[in-house]
C-alpha cells in the first residue's frame, strides 16, 4: 500500500515539475507579470560553517523585507529562495541547479566559501544566471587561468592580490613612503599575489622596492633576511603572510633594531597575534575588508541585532553589499531577466557598508573598492593592543 502511494506521489511530482518547466521557459521572470521577483541564496545552513551561512541568509531576508516594505523593485515584490549547501561543493551545485531550473531565480547571492563558488561556475554558465559571491577571495572564481572572465561569477569581496595594490597605494600616497622592503612566503599563493601587486602599484607611484626577501612557511628564524632588509633601510616593510610568521618576524625585526613601519593584510588578525608580538607591531598598518567600528558599518550592525538579537558575522556586511549591487542591477536592467541583470551588474556603482562597489567588466571583482585601513595601537585605558580604524582606502 505504502509503495503505491509513493509511486503515485512521485508521478504527480514529475508531472508538476514538467508542467511548471514547460509553462515558464521565459515567463516567470518576465516583465509583464506582477509575480514576485525571486532571488536565490546559497550557503551553509548546517555543518561547520552554519553560523556564517545562517547570518548571511538572515541578512538577505531582512534586506528583502525592508525593500518590500518600501514598495519593492520595478513595482514588484521580492522573494527569497534560500538553499543549504552544507558547506559542500557538490551540494552547492545541486542547490544552484534547483534554483535556476525549478525556482527560476533572477540571480543568486552567496556562497561565502571559494570551493563552493568555484564549483557552481559550469551550472551558472549553462543556465545563464549570475551569482555574486560574498567572502570567496580566490582569484580564480571570477578570472580563469588564461585571463578570461567567468561570465556569470561575480563577487563583492576583494581578492588576495588586490590587497597588495591597496597596501602599496596607502603606503605611497597617504604615508608618503618612498622605499619599501618585502618579506614574503615563497610557498604561498596568497603571499605571492599580494607581493606582486604591491610591487607593481608601489613602483607605478614612484616608490622603490629596496629589498625583497623570501622564506618558506614553517621557518621560525627570519634574521638573515631581516638583516639584509635593515641594511636597505626601508620606510616600510610589507609582510603579506599569516599571523604566526608575522609575530615572529616582527619581533625579530625589532630585535635587530629595525624601526620601519610594518604592513600586512587580512592574514594578520588573530586572537594570538598581539599576545605573541603586540609591542613589536605597534604602529603597523593592516588592510582589512572593513572595520567593525567604522561609523558607516554601525547602522547595519544595530539593525541586525534589533531583528535577530545577536551580533552579526562578517557575512552580514558582505552580503548586504552584494544585495545592494544586485538591486541596483535589477533597476538598471529594468527587468528581472537573468541575462539583462548579468549585463547590468558591471554597469552599476553602489555605496555599500564595506566601501564603494563597482564590479569590473574584465574581472567581475569590485574595482577600486575601498578597503579598511587599520592601525595597531596600544589602548592606554585597557593596556591592550587593538586595531584602530584609520580610513577607507581604494587602490586607484
Amino acid at each position: 500500500m505504502k509503495r503505491k502511494w509513493t509511486l503515485f506521489v512521485s508521478i504527480l511530482m514529475v508531472l508538476l515539475l514538467a508542467a511548471t518547466g514547460c509553462g515558464s521557459t521565459n515567463g516567470a521572470s518576465g516583465d509583464a507579470t506582477k509575480d514576485p521577483i525571486k532571488i536565490g541564496w546559497i550557503g551553509s545552513l548546517t555543518g561547520d560553517q552554519a553560523p556564517w551561512g545562517k547570518c548571511e541568509s538572515q541578512t538577505v531576508q531582512m534586506l528583502i523585507d525592508e525593500t518590500n516594505a518600501n514598495g519593492g523593485v520595478l513595482g514588484r515584490q521580492l522573494e527569497l529562495v534560500a538553499l543549504d549547501t552544507k558547506g559542500d561543493a557538490n551540494e552547492a551545485v545541486n542547490a544552484v541547479k534547483r534554483l535556476v531550473s525549478q525556482d527560476k531565480v533572477c540571480a543568486i547571492l552567496g556562497p561565502n566559501a571559494s570551493a563552493q563558488a568555484l564549483a557552481i561556475t559550469g551550472v551558472l554558465e549553462s543556465a545563464g544566471v549570475s551569482d555574486i559571491a560574498t567572502v570567496a577571495t580566490n582569484p580564480k572564481i571570477t578570472v580563469k587561468d588564461d585571463g578570461s572572465v567567468n561570465k556569470y561569477n561575480f563577487r563583492v569581496c576583494f581578492t588576495d592580490p588586490y590587497q597588495g595594490s591597496v597596501a602599496a597605494g596607502y603606503a605611497a600616497d597617504v604615508l608618503k613612503y618612498k622605499n619599501a622592503a618585502i618579506l614574503y612566503d615563497v610557498a604561498s599563493d596568497y603571499s605571492q599575489g599580494f607581493m606582486q601587486y604591491f610591487i607593481e602599484t608601489f613602483e607605478a607611484k614612484g616608490g622603490t622596492i629596496v629589498a625583497k626577501e623570501a622564506f618558506k612557511a614553517g621557518d621560525t628564524d627570519f634574521r638573515p633576511q631581516l638583516t639584509k632588509i635593515k641594511k636597505a633601510n626601508p620606510d616600510v616593510i610589507l609582510m603579506p603572510y599569516y599571523y604566526k610568521e608575522v609575530a615572529l618576524s616582527a619581533n625579530q625585526a625589532r630585535d635587530l633594531g629595525i624601526t620601519a613601519t610594518l604592513m600586512g593584510g587580512d592574514g594578520w588578525p588573530s586572537d594570538t597575534l598581539f599576545e605573541m608580538a603586540g609591542k613589536s607591531l605597534e604602529g603597523s598598518y593592516v588592510v582589512n575588508h572593513f572595520d567593525y567600528n567604522d561609523p558607516e558599518v554601525k547602522p547595519l550592525t544595530e539593525a541586525y541585532i534589533a531583528k535577530y538579537g545577536t551580533t552579526p558575522e562578517i557575512n552580514c556586511y558582505m552580503v548586504h553589499d552584494a544585495y545592494k549591487v544586485l538591486l541596483a542591477a535589477i533597476e538598471k536592467a529594468g527587468s528581472a531577466d537573468p541575462q539583462a541583470i548579468t549585463d547590468a551588474l558591471t554597469q552599476v556603482q553602489v555605496k555599500g557598508v564595506t566601501g564603494t562597489i563597482k564590479l569590473g567588466e574584465k574581472t567581475h571583482n569590485p574595482e577600486g573598492k575601498e578597503a579598511a585601513i587599520q592601525k595597531i595601537q596600544l589602548n592606554p585605558e585597557t593596556g591592550e593592543y587593538e586595531y584602530a580604524f584609520m580610513q577607507k582606502y581604494g587602490a586607484n
Binding site: E213, T220, D221, R223, P224, K228, K244, D255, T272
Partner: protein
C-alpha cells in the same frame, strides 16, 4: 662589515639551536645505530613542560628549565621502553626502529593537539627584551642565554662521557655494544642513560626554543634540520653534531644573505649533498658499515 658580523651572529644563533637538538640524535645513533625520529616530539613536549612549569608554579626560570629537562628525559626513557625496547629484544633490523620512531613522533604530536590544542602559546617575558647593541650590531639576550646554556649543557655532557664511569661504558658501547656486553657492561642500563641524557638535552632545547619563538605542536619539525646537521657533522660523533649544526646555521644564513633568500634551502642542501658525496661519513664521523 657590520652586516657581515650581524649575519655571523644570526648564523651561530640558529646553529646553536640545531646543535642542542642534533646531539640527541647523535647520542642515540652512536649506541643503537638508528636515528631516533621521535626526538622532535620530546623537544616539543619539553617546550610545553617548561611553559606550564613557569605558568603554574611561581618559580624561577632555572627551576622551570630543570623541570623541563627532567620531564623530557623521563618521556624519552618511557619512549624507549615502549617503542624501542621490545624491538631490541627481538633483534629487529634498524628499519623497524625508524618506523617505530616515526610512529611515536606522530603519536606525540597528535596527543598534544588533542589534549592541549593546536594553537600557539607564548612564554611569559622572563628576560629584558631589549637586545644588546654594539654599534649597528644587535644581539638579543635570549640568544646569548641560549648560546651559554647550550655550551654549559654540552660541556656537562662531554664531562659525563669523557670523565665518568658511565661515560666510559657509553664510549665502549659506541665502539661495540656486543663486545661491551661480553666485558660485563650492562648495555640496557647504558641505553637508559643515553635516552635520559638525550631527553634532558631535548627538554632544554625545547624550552629555549619556545622562549625564543613560540610553542606549538609542530615545533618538532625543526629537528629535520638538526638531524641533517648531525649527518653532516658525522652521525654518532658528538663534536661532529655540534660542528655540523653550527656550519649548517652559518651556511643557511650566509647563502640567504649573499646569494638569495628564496634559494637558501636549495643552496644549503646542495652543499651538504656535495660534502656527503665526498665524505659519506660526515665531517667528523667514523666509518660505519650500515647507516640508518
Amino acid at each position: 662589515m657590520s652586516v657581515f658580523l650581524q649575519q655571523l651572529i644570526n648564523g651561530l644563533s640558529i646553529g646553536s639551536i640545531y646543535a642542542l637538538m642534533a646531539v640527541g640524535y647523535s647520542l642515540v645513533y652512536s649506541i643503537l645505530n638508528f636515528s631516533n625520529f621521535a626526538h622532535g616530539g620530546v623537544i616539543m613536549l619539553g617546550a610545553y613542560i617548561g611553559l606550564y612549569a613557569l605558568h603554574l608554579l611561581p618559580m624561577s626560570f632555572l627551576g622551570a628549565l630543570i623541570i623541563a629537562a627532567l620531564g623530557a628525559g623521563l618521556i624519552a626513557v618511557v619512549l624507549e621502553k615502549v617503542a624501542y625496547s621490545p624491538l631490541r629484544k627481538r633483534n629487529a633490523p634498524s628499519l623497524y626502529f625508524i618506523i617505530s620512531a616515526m610512529g611515536a613522533s606522530i603519536f606525540l604530536e597528535n596527543l598534544v593537539i588533542a589534549t592541549i590544542g593546536p594553537t600557539f602559546k607564548t612564554y611569559p617575558e622572563i628576560f629584558n627584551p631589549v637586545p644588546f647593541t654594539f654599534g649597528s650590531i644587535s644581539v638579543s639576550r635570549i640568544d646569548v642565554l641560549m648560546f651559554v646554556i647550550a655550551a654549559i649543557s654540552l660541556a656537562i655532557l662531554v664531562f659525563i662521557i669523557e670523565k665518568t664511569k658511565v661515560g666510559l661504558a657509553i664510549r665502549a658501547c659506541s665502539y661495540s655494544s656486543r663486545g661491551s656486553n661480553l666485558m660485563g657492561v650492562n648495555v640496557n642500563r647504558i641505553i637508559f642513560v643515553i635516552f635520559l641524557l638525550g631527553g634532558m638535552l631535548a627538554g632544554v632545547a625545547g624550552m629555549l626554543f619556545g622562549m625564543k619563538y613560540t610553542v606549538y605542536p609542530q615545533i618538532g619539525v625543526i629537528t629535520n634540520k638538526s638531524f641533517i646537521a648531525a649527518v653532516f657533522g658525522g652521525l654518532g660523533s658528538l663534536p661532529g653534531a655540534v660542528v655540523g649544526s653550527l656550519l649548517l646555521g652559518l651556511i643557511e644564513t650566509l647563502s640567504s644573505a649573499y646569494i638569495a633568500s628564496q634559494y637558501r634551502d636549495l643552496i644549503a642542501f646542495t652543499l651538504l649533498i656535495v660534502v656527503l658525496v665526498i665524505r659519506p661519513s660526515g665531517i667528523m664521523g667514523k666509518i660505519t658499515e650500515d647507516k640508518a
